[in-house]
Symmetry: C2
Subunit: 214 residues, 2 copies
């Protein structure tokens, strides 16, 4: 019960001065915690079941938050989809930053990215690529994938920078090739329910990258 | 009105002998025509809007057939999905047979398959690969993609036979690679709304295949 009215209760609180400021800050923090829980739950449920098959009620249940409270944070399912795409973009940026921090050379970075993908092979063989399967579904919306386009542009642009650092004039084409190989392998692995397929492709991509750097 | 009762009317017809046989045959043919119209419409609407977003009423409207009549052919949406997967498999078999009939050598056949994919680049850049985006959506069903797994197994097995005919011991890996490149390119082309991406990849795959055959 307190759960379902908390955000409204904060703005209606009759406190003043420092107490009011502190109460509002605590309320915002708790609100952000709840918003974050909803986004995390939506990421997982959209990934496991698809966006279209998921209702706001499913997300509320997965987050353990009353449905009435969800509308405080997300007026429509589209608002929630946008938040999920932003969260997936944040994850992708973190993964690329981690790969850059852990490896100096562009070849090692490209290999590490594909290995990181392949490291999720069990999940991918069950539900597909988290980013790719989301894009595949949103691609069919009448107004297109919108912000989800960034989910493909980000790794392609990143891979292009690595190939450029290798001095390759065909950096863009190579970037498309490496990301396409990953996305295609992820689809084959999930449709054929074969996690090894992604592991094998990762090793083959690494061998191919070595021929480019030689 | 006649439309919505026709199949039942055939079996309830009081005709006897040759007339009855002829009436039943005509009814079956018309029934098959209507069933086929429903499957064709479902293929298109599932492709454009996704399976989950499509209702049986949408398919009935696209086929110009009353909804009540749809249930005569497909008791559930799952029955219709199965029929669509079978239709897509039929198309894929026809495409592979056409490629085999038109080209003698395995390399030319592999190039022709990718070119045939790229020939649909405008549609793919809008809705994704007809087979791939269908698999991506069905992969998330609790009982898996089911028969849709064949939609990926069929071209991979076919490509493997071509690489084997080329004498390649790594025929399976190469088959996975070529189909993954196509599926990944199709996803990138649709998410980035870039039909040229698929055309460029087709040319690059052809150049790569030439290095294998050399």
């Amino acid at each position: 019960m307190t759960d379902s009215v908390e955000p409204q209760a904060v703005s209606a609180a009759p406190a003043t001065g420092a107490a009011a400021t502190r109460a509002a800050a605590v309320g915002r923090a708790r609100g952000q915690g709840k918003r974050q829980r909803l986004v995390d739950a939506a990421c997982q449920v959209f990934y496991a079941n698809g966006v279209e098959r998921t209702t706001l009620a499913d997300v509320a249940a997965a987050a353990g938050i009353p449905l009435g409270n969800v509308y405080y944070y997300f007026k429509t399912k589209n608002d929630l989809i946008r938040a999920v795409v932003e969260a997936r973009l944040g994850e992708a940026r973190m993964m690329l930053a981690w790969v850059e921090a852990a490896h100096d050379g562009p070849l090692d970075r490209l290999k590490a990215l594909f290995e990181a993908f392949a490291g999720q092979s069990a999940e991918i063989a069950r539900y597909g690529c988290p980013q790719g399967s989301l894009c595949s579904e949103l691609d069919k919306l009448p107004d297109g994938p919108g912000l989800a386009g960034e989910l493909m542009r980000l790794p392609v642009d990143w891979a292009e920078r690595q190939f450029r650092a290798l001095g390759r004039p065909d950096a863009r084409d190579l970037a498309i090739e490496v990301i396409a190989r990953y996305q295609g392998s992820a689809l084959l692995a999930s449709t054929l329910r074969d996690p090894d397929l992604l592991t094998r492709e990762s090793a083959r991509v690494a061998a191919w990258l070595d021929t480019l750097g030689a």
